[in-house]
Symmetry: C3
Subunit: 404 residues, 3 copies
Amino acid sequence: MPFRMNGEYKEFHLVAEPVVRELGPGMAANLWGYNGQSPGPTIEVVEGDKIRIFLTNKLPEHTSIHWHGQRLPNGMDGVAGLNQVAVHPGKTFVYEFEAKRPGTFMYHPHADEMTQMAMGMMGFWVTHPKNEHPWISAVDRDYCILLNAFDIVPGSETPNIMTMLDFNLWAWNSRIFPGIAPLVARKNDRVRVRVGNLTMTNHPIHVHGIEFEVTGTDGGPTRPESRWKEVTTDIAVGQMRQIEFLAEEEGDWAMHCHKSHHSMNAMGHDVPTMIGVDHRGITEKIRKLVPDYMVMGERGMADMTEMTMPLPDNTLPMMTGDGPYGSVEMGGMFSMLKVRADLAPDDYSDPGWYKHPEGHQAYEYNGDLPELSRQLTPGNSLMAPKSQLASAHFKAVKPTRHKG
Amino acid sequence: MPFRMNGEYKEFHLVAEPVVRELGPGMAANLWGYNGQSPGPTIEVVEGDKIRIFLTNKLPEHTSIHWHGQRLPNGMDGVAGLNQVAVHPGKTFVYEFEAKRPGTFMYHPHADEMTQMAMGMMGFWVTHPKNEHPWISAVDRDYCILLNAFDIVPGSETPNIMTMLDFNLWAWNSRIFPGIAPLVARKNDRVRVRVGNLTMTNHPIHVHGIEFEVTGTDGGPTRPESRWKEVTTDIAVGQMRQIEFLAEEEGDWAMHCHKSHHSMNAMGHDVPTMIGVDHRGITEKIRKLVPDYMVMGERGMADMTEMTMPLPDNTLPMMTGDGPYGSVEMGGMFSMLKVRADLAPDDYSDPGWYKHPEGHQAYEYNGDLPELSRQLTPGNSLMAPKSQLASAHFKAVKPTRHKG
Amino acid sequence: MPFRMNGEYKEFHLVAEPVVRELGPGMAANLWGYNGQSPGPTIEVVEGDKIRIFLTNKLPEHTSIHWHGQRLPNGMDGVAGLNQVAVHPGKTFVYEFEAKRPGTFMYHPHADEMTQMAMGMMGFWVTHPKNEHPWISAVDRDYCILLNAFDIVPGSETPNIMTMLDFNLWAWNSRIFPGIAPLVARKNDRVRVRVGNLTMTNHPIHVHGIEFEVTGTDGGPTRPESRWKEVTTDIAVGQMRQIEFLAEEEGDWAMHCHKSHHSMNAMGHDVPTMIGVDHRGITEKIRKLVPDYMVMGERGMADMTEMTMPLPDNTLPMMTGDGPYGSVEMGGMFSMLKVRADLAPDDYSDPGWYKHPEGHQAYEYNGDLPELSRQLTPGNSLMAPKSQLASAHFKAVKPTRHKG
């Protein structure tokens, strides 16, 4: 985000206002944001900078900004009613403080907070360290993701701001896969991904192909000896996590929230199950009466990616996102880490799909097969003796015993 | 909680019984608790104490108490059916064990557990260390908060004990903001807050103005080298966390669950969105027919704090809680950390609202403004070329590179 | 799981297919799994092994397998569409990679993932370390638990795969208490429990009677100095945790998810509360008209364990599970850790119920009682002065002060 210098202060201007955001290809939403976008622009400063931010309110109701994670004077903390009067429509207010701690922060309203965050008002703040710090590594790539969620009835455009649990659009930076750019890294780059959560539930962020460590929170960098190797880190609401890893393995690696509904798209969660119900013939008959009639999911949901059922206007289909080998059947909080050895210098644009080396990809097979282990025979497990079932459901593995 | 000495035993008496609890100003609930309150009284003992607790059951059904986190004989662990017969109405049972580990614990029923915890049966247990311990700091202030949640239909008084997800009252110690006292500390006090969660979901507890560390769990104190600086710690159901910090910054600092619905109050989560719908004129016409008629939220929800819509009896309004500068628009799991340099010796009573020093508070501004960064123009972002959108939704920040 | 050696490769064969799984005594479900069971067989290999897995698809839709947590070539990672073409019904595909890291892993589909995991497709993978590792302890007992959840309407047999939040069956290894075997350990055994979560929410796993440490994740073993003593660890979706402890205390210790609804069984979460409503007499009158009529829960829910209300076919009652002292009123994600000093050598079969030594069990009492502490009198707390309430709801405990 651009700023102007004014004496020793870096000055920024944020305008709180209604915005239209393309959540994904073919779907726009009426959100509230800053400077024409949701999330607002990312503020980048250096430790020790003196900061002055002008907040102009062009919303239909009052607002304020809380500078999540910053050390600052109490009167600059932005809780309307408690630390300041709310900024009424048409007014401009000023916040001034020093960027005391390096790290990963957020900004968001602290006035009618539930509404304004449900409408998309939030932004990232990165304070770079002034000097080397033993717990902060130099990195080659540094990404920012704000997790947010919306409840927009299919065919409509404005989030329902009263929803507590049953959101249907799960987004990164107010964008939904396949509308999310990949994260690109050169082989052996050190990559940092900063993630903040302003939804209403935990998001376990999972990265394929590597192990990462949490190197910092919105409270500061973590001590190296405290860090765990992980492939999934759970990010709670109002938490921020810096994860870091070496991009040691080439390829296109999936990266997503591990809650399976969050890597889907707009959907009704209360559709009854049709698995095992045979509708053949019936559908054709009903279609003579109701031309668009379809039955979802009698053989699972994968057919959805091929179906031609018309959608309401301004709706994202579920499980879209084509890859090089067909649909990846994902949506929502999903993207890819693309690691390549052969990127041109300083070129981190999308390198396209990974070409797998000969013999390094799952392949079809028609030869003979090893003995099949069937501990329970389908169709009669209900009648199996209880002792057999009991031994089956805890699979005690052989304990590790070291010599000596 | 008072006790009597009997030989080498400290003896406590807990009576499980129906209680009426004022959840907040103007709203009472029919709960179940101990000794006339929910949560029950906090039991404080010293490491190595021998404890005898009498549990008298004045509920209409059987109960028991599980001493969450304690090392004790299996027959004292309190799981009805497994470790003991349930305590039937009218009976008194005895539990005896030594307080072996210093730390933060809970007690709650382990008989018809879902019902009895949903009705408010729970209490804190603190075992103080007998000797100095390298991982346990001396503190100046030591607070206890039990997170609990209720589902009480507006206008009624008794929790729905079958609710799994859609609670509408989010409480600390069965109290709801603005009915929760502030946490008061002298500047540079070391403050400990012990938090336990007996709801049905995670609560990310966020403190403004400082960074804290988790210094202990119900399993024991944490090693200092394992601790992270945080501003939000996620507390899962059945977990306890001791957080500690230096109260270095004066002021009135918000402290709350970061899930925005949890820092609200009794509400219906299924009200449709009205943002952007213009009801002017229509409301007045309808009011001629229906005098109390109101439309909620066409310009957001902040108007709610000023509205005069009559509420059902025994209901808390949403987003109440007045501060020195108007409504803080909060309820539920919200309080304040009040840090002052000028408290009288040993006086930790509420010091009133913080007076911000000159020049240390957000202020209104009417001068010229720096250049506005609008990466997307409102109203036409839908038409923006996709490449521009793609570059907008991941905001890669400049990577940190150290010299050498 | 058995394998065959083929040159330097260990070869396994997994068949994805519909299975019938007995979730608990008297309830079967139509699931999808591997080799006749859900979860599929546990794959056990040694660090450095070269692995070849044949996946045959006998489902009605395409599938694939993602090897969660493994380091492997990108083309073997199993995300259909992205890393490979999906495996269509009737086909067999081959995955080949080296088991590079010792640890705890999962396998599950990455094609129509939401459906296929909701139907039960998942399995455990354990890679034993080849050599001693300073962060990996030898253990005497080593258990594997996959957390899964289903939404099956009472009386039906097939999960609703669209459910996002409101599951009614909470399972370990697709089994539900009292259908879950106990974990048996000899006194002072070192016990490891490996837990993975493939539901849609966090599960805080609580063990009574001991404290444990998280010794590893699906990203690798944890550094010893980073570990916390805990009694409840929160396991997010897509996370795996190895917990370890010394079984120092004899007895039958409850072990369960601490979300109280998750240690129940099939139930409707929207039944209204009846606590405090007196139905005596009315029920009898209605029964003359509707013979099976019952009112649930006017005195709490414990009566449910004794009631004779007929259940729909193929339904598990709530809160079953008899212990030595009556119903333990639990179901779902609940089991027991049974620690005994006197197990026969190498015999870890269920030792039956623990016999409590004399004087080591809660007992009934009819003597005199210590002074009762009633900070709030029931029935009038609503009228108590607000200052008294305010002091009641934060129970500040005496701060710890060390000398000097």
